[in-house]
């Protein structure tokens, strides 16, 4: 599966990634509307979804699914805005802003990685076996 990998030690807290992300998806330069978040005080820490898939099983309407590339995506049309996925993301990378009634997350598009001056973020691949969601057909014997 494809995901946005990170190396905190290379991050210089410039905020370029946040700016690119929010401008791309929400037409606004506002880090609160970015899927990737960088801690600005103290040691750098980049927070971004690693496509683990835990949120998939949390969603009551199955609005969250993994696509063919292995990216975990939200179908905002059917999302009912419960924000359980936000509360249950193990690393708090599912994002929410009160201007919208659906959450948002990184889809590993890689636009930010292209602009990162130090290479602290980059698109990587890891084994599909690491996916955390359950197999419903197996669970329900279908």
């Amino acid at each position: 599966m494809k995901y946005l990998a990170k190396d905190d030690s290379k991050c210089i807290q410039c905020g370029t990634c946040e700016s690119i992300c929010s401008k791309t998806y929400y037409k606004e330069d506002n880090y609160e509307k970015s899927c990737i978040v960088v801690k600005k005080d103290g040691k750098p820490e980049i927070n971004v979804c690693n496509q683990c898939g835990e949120c998939i099983d949390i969603c009551p309407v199955i609005a969250i699914k993994r696509d063919k590339q292995g990216i975990v995506r939200i179908n905002k049309k059917i999302c009912v805005g419960c924000f359980m996925c936000v509360g249950f993301c193990p690393q708090l990378s599912m994002r929410q802003h009160d201007d919208y009634i659906e959450p948002f997350k990184c889809i590993a598009c890689g636009l930010c990685a292209k602009e990162c001056p130090t290479g602290a973020i980059y698109i990587a691949e890891r084994s599909d076996d690491e996916a955390k969601e359950m197999n419903l057909d197996q669970v329900f014997n279908r």
Binding site: D57, I58, P60, V80, C82, F83, M84, D98, F140
Partner: protein
């Protein structure tokens, strides 16, 4: 028969087109009135007075019921109503447990108003379809369904002859019939009863929601008080609501951001702490089976005992490991991260009309495991699941069924009734085959099952009048009050909980107060005043959930990590604040904790006066069976002899050399006296006189000195 053919059998009786309307701060400001006698359908305005004094949910239900009935109305009169209302917070998706419907009606068991708090999607979808409440009156000639299409703005009453009656099939049939496709199924919710509701007084209503992972229609129960019996008596087969565009902001909240923030904080708390606390996400309320056993609170064999060595076989881990599907999102409305609506999948039935079929069983909840299991002496998880399934699909309340069956079993074992009377049924504790046969008889409307289905109150009368039983003894062991069966906790060692059960409006049900741990285990209520304060605060606080459309469980089935360091851990102050914040977010009303209690006091006292109006709201109606207070029989006393002997010593009576009978008598006098004293203290705290009647002064203080209420209480001051 296929769905198309079933649908073709419908005959349209009435049709009503309406404007879709808007929701403002949680209210649609309209009620849908449907009369199935003359097939009128109308829109009624929700008035500012109603919102101010009754808030919504159960408040609206009781208000409509009051206006629809008279002191002489019986449960099966056409003018009796079934009112379903969600409350202003019902339908928000961010805070756990905000999809509840409150159902009110005059009860066939108690002849007074009953209210029931139920999950499933009906309440929220009803609101999104444009209605704060659905008020159903009248009686149809043939089986009908009422269909509300919240996308088209269309309500119909239709004769529906071919649909099944049993809940699990009817729910599936109508979900399939009214959904456009598989994805649309979650936009349909169905209310049904079941075949057993037709032949008993303890019928329940199933409220459905579609589970997109299991691909089955799940059923949540408005269980208590026989509303399903009223439903079938009115010849309603089902109610259907459809609304296809659910989003997270449809309540049109005053401040959505506050709701989001509070909701996400709570989701995170569940994520971090549930597995360290109650495991609600794994097993729901059944997590306490073994805890209750450990504290001698699990009803065993008609509440004679509080624990049993075989509880081991039905403890929560057995269900988690062998039966309940783990890791599936199980909220009974969107956004419930507590997710306690558990289910056993692919469960193979061993008896009855569906024998051999594999079904999804909704449950077991604690009450089912205790009522259908230990209280009937049944310690077999598969027996519990099977009884649970049949109760639901037949539309029978598991609690009333469990407590009534346990009573009948004790009567049988003591020779008060025999095989001739039971029609050959060996009604012994632990006999699953007999228990499940009673249920099948209730469904078919035959045999001793229909006798048990009348409830403990009417069984007592029958056994005395027809079979010469001792009325005093039956009064002692028959666990009912006001006609309603006790729910499944042994209250013998907690005076506060005896009051928690005994001084309720609708009958002995723990949804008003559950004080056993505070009182008995943690000894936080040492004086009568302390107990009275708790028996004021908690019933009022818990009434409030039903005004707004909330579920009680997310309040204290998890607590914040630092809760124990707060001033009043039993109240879970942070969660109370969450509720006040969410209600502010929805309605714009900034309530204090005092305002919150006040809102409840208004509705609580209204219900109290409603009871008085119906002839059952006075002190004499709060008398409780002695089984709820102490050991009735020798065996009960001797099984916990040390405990009881010690209590006798504490009250200055030397048990040495006394017979058990003598000791029982002294203990009983003491405990009954304590109960009376508690009653005095609680009535005073609740603003009532010693006869249990709200004083006019207090009603004025509450702003509930409505002329129609004063009329009922003025001669009882």
């Amino acid at each position: 028969m296929d769905i198309k053919r079933i649908k073709e059998g419908h005959k349209l009786l009435a049709e009503y087109k309406y404007e879709l309307g808007t929701i403002e701060r949680g209210y649609t400001n309209r009620t849908l009135y449907v009369n199935i006698s003359d097939n009128t359908i109308a829109s009624k305005a929700v008035t500012p007075m109603m919102k101010e004094k009754f808030v919504g949910g159960k408040g609206f239900g009781l208000w409509y019921l009051w206006n629809a009935t008279t002191p002489s109305t019986k449960w099966d009169d056409p003018e009796n109503e079934i009112v379903i209302a969600g409350g202003p917070a019902c339908g928000i998706t961010q805070y756990a447990g905000a999809g509840k419907s409150l159902v009110c009606s005059l009860s066939p068991l108690t002849d007074i108003p009953i209210d029931s708090n139920v999950g499933g999607f009906f309440g929220p979808l009803l609101k999104f379809s444009g209605w704060d409440a659905l008020e159903i009156q009248g009686k149809a000639e043939k089986d009908v369904i009422v269909v509300i299409d919240g996308n088209k703005g269309l309500v119909t009453i239709e004769e529906a002859p071919y649909e099944a009656v049993d809940g699990h099939i009817l729910g599936e049939q109508l979900t399939e019939m009214y959904a456009d496709n598989e994805d649309d199924k979650r936009n349909v919710s169905v209310v049904t009863a079941g075949s057993g509701a037709e032949h008993t007084r303890m019928g329940l209503l199933n409220f459905s929601f579609y589970d997109p992972r299991r691909k089955v229609t799940r059923l949540k129960q408005a269980g208590r008080g026989g509303i399903g019996t009223v439903f079938r008596n009115k010849k309603i087969k089902a109610l259907v609501v459809k609304f296809s565009n659910v989003k997270g902001d449809l309540n049109n909240a005053y401040d959505q951001a506050v709701i989001n923030k509070t909701g996400i904080k709570y989701h995170r708390e569940i994520h971090d702490l549930d597995h360290l606390q109650n495991n609600m996400r794994k097993i729901g309320t059944a997590n306490i089976i073994e805890v209750m056993d450990e504290y001698d609170l699990l009803p065993v064999m008609n509440f004679q005992y509080g624990s049993h060595p075989d509880t081991e076989k039905i403890k929560s881990t057995v269900f988690i490991e062998k039966y309940i599907t783990q890791g599936v999102q199980d909220g009974c409305w969107y956004g419930c991260s507590m997710s306690c609506a558990k289910a056993a999948d692919c469960f193979k039935l061993k008896t009855g009309p569906y024998k051999g079929q594999r079904v999804t069983v909704d449950g077991p909840e604690y009450e089912n495991a205790a009522g259908l299991g230990s209280n009937c002496g049944i310690f077999d998880p598969e027996a519990i699941l099977e009884l649970n399934f049949y109760c639901d699909t037949y539309g029978i309340d598991t609690i009333s069924f469990g407590t009534a069956t346990a009573f009948a079993m004790e009567c049988y074992e003591r020779g008060i009734i025999n095989k001739e009377i039971t029609g050959g049924l060996e009604l012994k504790f632990g006999n699953f085959e007999t228990a499940v046969e009673l249920l099948h008889q209730m469904s078919r409307g035959e045999g001793f099952g229909t006798v048990v289905g009348q409830g403990v109150h009417r069984m007592k009368k029958l056994f005395v009048e027809k079979y010469g039983a001792d009325p005093d003894f039956l009064f002692d062991i028959g666990m009912e009050q006001k006609g309603l069966e006790y729910s499944e906790y042994v209250s013998k060692e907690s005076l506060a909980q005896q009051g928690g059960y005994g001084f309720t409006n609708k009958g002995p049900q723990h949804d008003e107060a559950w004080l056993i741990f505070m009182d008995m285990v943690n000894n936080q209520l040492p004086t009568f005043e302390d107990k009275a304060e708790a028996l004021h605060y908690f019933p009022m606080f818990r009434t409030w959930f039903g005004l707004y459309g909330f579920c009680k469980l997310p309040w204290n089935d998890i607590v914040p990590a630092d809760n124990k360091y707060t001033d009043e851990p039993a109240k879970v102050p942070e969660h109370v604040q969450n509720y006040l914040d969410v209600v502010y977010g929805v309605t714009g009303k900034r309530l204090s904790t005092e305002d919150m209690i006040r809102e409840s006091e208004r509705v609580y006292n209204f219900q109290k006066i409603f009871n008085i109006r119906m002839g059952k709201g006075l002190r004499k109606n709060d008398k409780a069976p002695y089984r709820s207070m102490g050991p009735v029989t020798k065996e009960e006393y001797e099984s916990r002899q040390e405990r009881y002997d010690n209590q006798l010593k504490e009250i200055g009576y030397n048990p040495e050399g006394k017979t058990t009978e003598e000791k029982i008598k002294v203990l009983r006098e003491y405990r009954e006296d304590q109960y009376e004293k508690l009653m005095d203290a609680v009535y005073k705290r609740r603003g009532w006189n010693s006869n249990g009647v709200p004083t006019i002064e207090y009603l004025k203080e509450l702003g509930m000195d409505l002329p129609e209420l004063i009329e009922v209480v003025k001669d009882l001051q």
